[in-house]
């Protein structure tokens, strides 16, 4: 590995000094070092017909010449061709769409709709438009239209707005269902700008694709066919993804002409502290050390954590170092979803103004929220995809000075795989964003909303789908009325209100602080994570201050908390039972079978662990009593017949351990394959009829549990058909398990490679999962058992 010391003698920057220091002291922890040289700008020309007014306004804003990619986008946009542009941070993305839009507004009184995934991004955008507008007295009227827009301003925006800046949720819930009020706007709608399209994937993306179908349907009613200009961070399939969202051909502009500062990237693996068990020092401790060094070197630093809980833990640790003196201004802030908007805006302002030296965030700051320029990005753990890693690393970077990014691996399998294969990290193309817009449940929701907006006729299509059967289902439930071939909305309800684009369930929990007689909402938690974070007894943290959940009102969607001084935090324990309902497809898999089909999943949070700060020792357990969460979804699963298992393993315990290890490895390689976020694709081992399920005990040995949850010796179990499941964590599935089923032989091979090539001694979190206490003196190791199962499932 070449470190920056071999660069020619020149001014050594603070970043370089920091990297040199780390290399000298911790060289063995750096498993990969990449240095992306600065890149000079590639220029284009302004389009020949560009109005003088806009050109002057741009000159006043310091834009004398456009970058090459900007010109490319303009040519497509002016010609009315849908276009998607792939834009790194700070590459002049907004001008790609603002220029054609402003020209059309000024020349033809055209209108434009901008969609951003968050309100904060929309507000940034309007501020920028207003500055450009003011610079040239262009007379373009741009407004945000979101949940905060006062009712009396809405009418004016509908009529007077040339550019309306909103988000998909508002389009879905407030604009489309009231489209007649927006008739003037729609009749002149020429451009639709959709920024950050890479965030529209999975469940959210599938919803947004359907909102776009509805938008196009309403546009057709008003006789317009707007041109779509989309922007994406780097993903592997920007063109395909944009086409899937829009349902039409899209041109892709992928080469950025913007200059880039030099970027140093380090892959960091915490040192091994117990070679026998393959246990490494925590990523947390390493990330904290690196962040402390960077902040002391007067480098503005962002730390990305994988969970909201970890944001709070890391913020506390950094505040303990930098903010222990209450008389001095705060240097460290936390930023994550669930904070109230005012608190987030305050942190963004402080970051832009340079008042803060360190921020700890979840993926919430991965997007283009304007937080000014930072120097160092530290990733506490692999974000789950190459694309997200580069987006986070891209948060550090100023024009002239070099930026530094460090990816600190946790002991999780995926992290270890990435950090030990730096060539994979550097060479791998970014992952593909996937959506499943025709997912039945999502489709039904949006056909319902679309029927409210404009009547359907028999034989109509929504996307590629014939709607007749869906209309019949909706008529059956009383919301549609059929007359001949025409289907009209008839119910006294507002269907968009019941459909949340961001989750299956529309039912956020609010966290209410009741300390000292207060009644203050301090946070919101989405339905899917409520059971894991708001059980009674849980420690819930905001800006690293701990609250304890006293009472959880499940039906009322409220958690009542009081401030506390606990020296521990809590982590939920959950388990999953699964039952096969239907087999869609099946194939031989080695000596066993692999199937794809529909399953019923029951998840239960059974209790929680108390974990002490700093020492991270387990200091107790508590019970949790919450309703089961049920899910019908799609899955793929592997099974081995009894004879093959008996022949290959000396006892059922070994076979069970092998299955659990194999599940861990298969889940890891499957996640890499589908760009799934961990919670979108889940794994479990059970009997396939919900009668039995498997968990690991504290020593990492498998336990075979019956329907009552009590462990039973698998040798005594009446039936023993361990089955390994990977399933979509969404009602009806979200399109992950089917491509995985078709790639099943590859997955088994890759999982086998992962375990066999692992350098550990008998199994570790990087290959087969946490197996801390297994005694392998007699008999095969856990890793060997997993290899046994994977071998039987392989060709």
């Amino acid at each position: 590995m070449s470190l920056p010391t071999d660069s020619p003698v020149r001014h050594v920057t603070r970043v370089e000094r920091l990297v040199e220091g780390w290399a000298l002291k911790y060289g063995d922890r750096i498993t990969g070092y990449f240095r992306h040289p600065a890149q000079a700008a590639r220029w284009g020309e302004f389009p020949p017909g560009l109005s003088a007014g806009l050109r002057e306004a741009l000159a006043r804003r310091g834009v004398e010449r456009p970058y090459s990619h900007q010109r490319e986008v303009w040519d497509h946009a002016f010609a009315g061709r849908h276009v998607v542009v792939v834009t790194p941070t700070a590459s002049g993305k907004t001008l790609c769409y603002n220029l054609p839009v402003i020209e059309a507004v000024r020349a033809n009184q055209a209108k434009a709709l901008y969609l951003f995934p968050t309100k904060a991004l929309a507000q940034d955008q309007v501020a920028e438009l207003l500055e450009l507008n003011a610079a040239g007295a262009l007379g373009v009227r741009a407004f945000t239209f979101d949940g905060d827009t006062p009712a009396d301003a809405r009418q004016a925006i509908r009529v007077k707005g040339d550019i309306v800046v909103s988000n998909p949720d508002m389009l879905h819930q407030a604009i489309l269902p009231h489209h007649t009020k927006w008739a003037q706007f729609f009749e002149s709608l020429r451009y639709v700008v959709i920024d950050e399209v890479h965030t529209y994937r999975g469940v959210f993306g599938s919803h947004v694709a359907n909102v776009i179908r509805r938008l196009k349907r309403v546009c057709a009613f008003y006789g317009v066919t707007p041109t779509f200009i989309m922007c994406s961070a780097t993903i592997g399939n920007p063109k395909d993804h944009a086409e899937a969202l829009l349902g039409e051909p899209v041109h892709a502009v992928t080469q950025s002409g913007a200059p880039r500062g030099e970027r140093h990237v380090l892959l960091w693996n915490p040192p091994v502290v117990n070679p026998d068990l393959g246990i490494r020092a925590s990523a947390r401790s390493q990330s904290m050390r690196l962040a402390r060094h960077a902040i002391r070197a007067r480098l503005k630093t962002i730390v990305f954590a994988q969970s909201r809980l970890m944001v709070e833990v890391l913020t506390k640790y950094l505040k303990d170092v930098f903010d222990h003196d209450p008389r001095k201004p705060e240097r460290i802030r936390a930023y994550r979803g669930g904070y109230l908007p005012t608190e987030r805006r305050q942190t963004e302002r402080a970051l832009r103004g340079g008042a803060i030296d360190g921020v700890v965030s979840t993926s919430a700051l991965e997007l283009g929220v304007d937080i000014g320029a930072l120097d160092v990005a530290i990733l506490n753990g692999f974000p789950g995809s190459i694309a997200a890693t580069w987006q986070r690393l891209g948060r550090a970077g100023r024009r002239q000075q070099p930026a530094l990014g460090v990816m600190v691996a946790t002991s999780a399998a995926l992290d270890q795989y990435v950090v030990r294969h730096p060539e994979f990290f550097e060479a791998a193309p970014p992952e593909h964003a996937r959506i499943a817009p025709d997912q039945l449940l999502i489709l039904l929701d949006h056909i319902r909303c679309a029927a409210f907006e404009l009547p359907f006729a028999s034989g109509d299509r929504f996307g590629e789908n014939a709607v007749d059967d869906f209309l019949a289902v909706l008529a059956e439930s009383g919301v549609l009325h059929q007359e001949g071939t025409r289907w009209d909305w008839i119910a006294d309800s507002y269907p968009a209100a019941a459909v949340s684009l961001r989750s299956v369930a529309d039912g956020n929990f609010v966290v209410v602080d009741r300390s000292e007689g207060r009644q203050t909402i301090i946070a919101e938690v989405d339905y899917s994570s409520a059971a894991m974070t708001l059980y009674e007894g849980a420690i819930y943290m905001v800006q690293s201050r701990p609250w304890q959940v006293e009472r959880l009102d499940w039906a009322g969607r409220k958690a009542f908390v009081t401030a506390t001084h606990a020296d521990y935090y809590t982590d939920a324990i959950d388990y999953t039972k699964l039952k096969v309902l239907d087999r869609f497809d099946g194939a031989r898999a080695g000596q066993g079978t692999c199937h794809h089909g529909e399953v019923h999943v029951v998840r239960r949070v059974s209790g929680y662990k108390k974990i002490r700060f700093y020492s991270h020792e387990n200091i107790g357990y508590g019970p949790v009593n919450l309703p089961d969460q049920e899910l019908h979804t799609t899955a793929l699963w592997w099974q081995l017949d009894q004879a093959a298992l008996d022949a290959a393993f000396s006892n059922r315990q070994d076979a069970l351990d092998g299955f659990l290890g194999a599940a861990h490895a298969l889940h890891t390689v499957a996640q890499v394959r589908v760009m799934a976020e961990g919670r979108d694709l889940q794994k479990t081992v059970g009997s396939g009829d919900a009668a039995w399920f498997a968990t690991r005990d504290l020593q990492g040995r498998g336990q075979w549990r019956g329907a009552d949850g009590e462990p039973v010796d698998p040798a005594d179990a009446a039936q023993f058909h361990p089955t390994l499941f990977l399933y979509d964590n969404f009602p009806g599935g979200i399109g992950l398990s089917e491509p995985l089923f078709h790639a099943a032989p590859d997955l088994v091979r890759a999982a086998l490679d992962l375990v066999e090539a692992c350098e550990c001694n008998g199994g570790c979190p990087a290959c087969i999962g946490p197996v801390p206490g297994t005694d392998n003196a007699s008999g095969p190791s856990q890793a060997e058992l997993a290899v046994g199962v994977l071998g039987l499932l392989g060709a």
Partner: protein, 286 residues
Amino acid sequence: MSALAEKLARLRADAGTARPAAPAAGAAAPAPRPAAAPAIASLQALRALASARENRSRPVPLPAPAGTQIAPGVHLVERAFAYPAARLIDLPMLDARPIERARLLCFDTETTGLAGGVGTRAFMIGVAAWKEDTLRVRQLYLTSIAGESAMLEHFAGWLRDDSILVSYNGKSYDAPLLKGRFRLNRVRHRLPELPHLDWLHPVRRRYRGVYANCRLATIEREVLGIVREDDLPGAQAPAAWLAFLRGQSSRNLARVLDHNRQDVITLMRLGDHMAGLTRLQTGSPR
């Protein structure tokens, strides 16, 4: 069909368990009853066998409860009432000079609900207008959804250049809703150009705190002494029309017609009452 319906029902049950207990009514509409699925399947099979026409599966339409059909799906009910009154009326909020009473167009709609958005429509429009000591009440209502655009065109034809709209809460509710329906059905109209006298606000200014509330029913009872018999509360109007449309009963739709008719008559009487108040207050010599 039945396979899709069953599958959707099961998936929606999952999502339903995840939703708050009380979503907007009908928004998370109840999943199809399992028992209904086989019935549909067999109905479809029958239909295919007999290649029966689509509309066989729909209920037999009920006879319209009143009036005459003026276009497919639209009925008109007309009544005239003796209403001796001066030709001119003082409405200083509109004009300092007295106004020709014949210009007043008292109107009220009955709609499919209060949910708002383009999914809510007016299924009935009632209008009262005065001419030569007679109050003529004309009511349009839909006997099928397909009649909407004909009903709107008919109503638009009643709006003259010099008409003055009179309503109760019509500026915030009825007029915007009708504008949306005109837009959706691409029917030209002059609603936005006409002066609009919405009695809700003057009534509120005069009677706030005097009576329990300022709903039209309260004001007409307390101020005008009108007592309605067997009145169908406005909130039940959507269900009444649906029951008719679905071939279940036309009884309540007839009561909606009565209710709507009284509303527009009350609007004219309210005008005389309010004009009288103004006269008292200003001491004008009429």
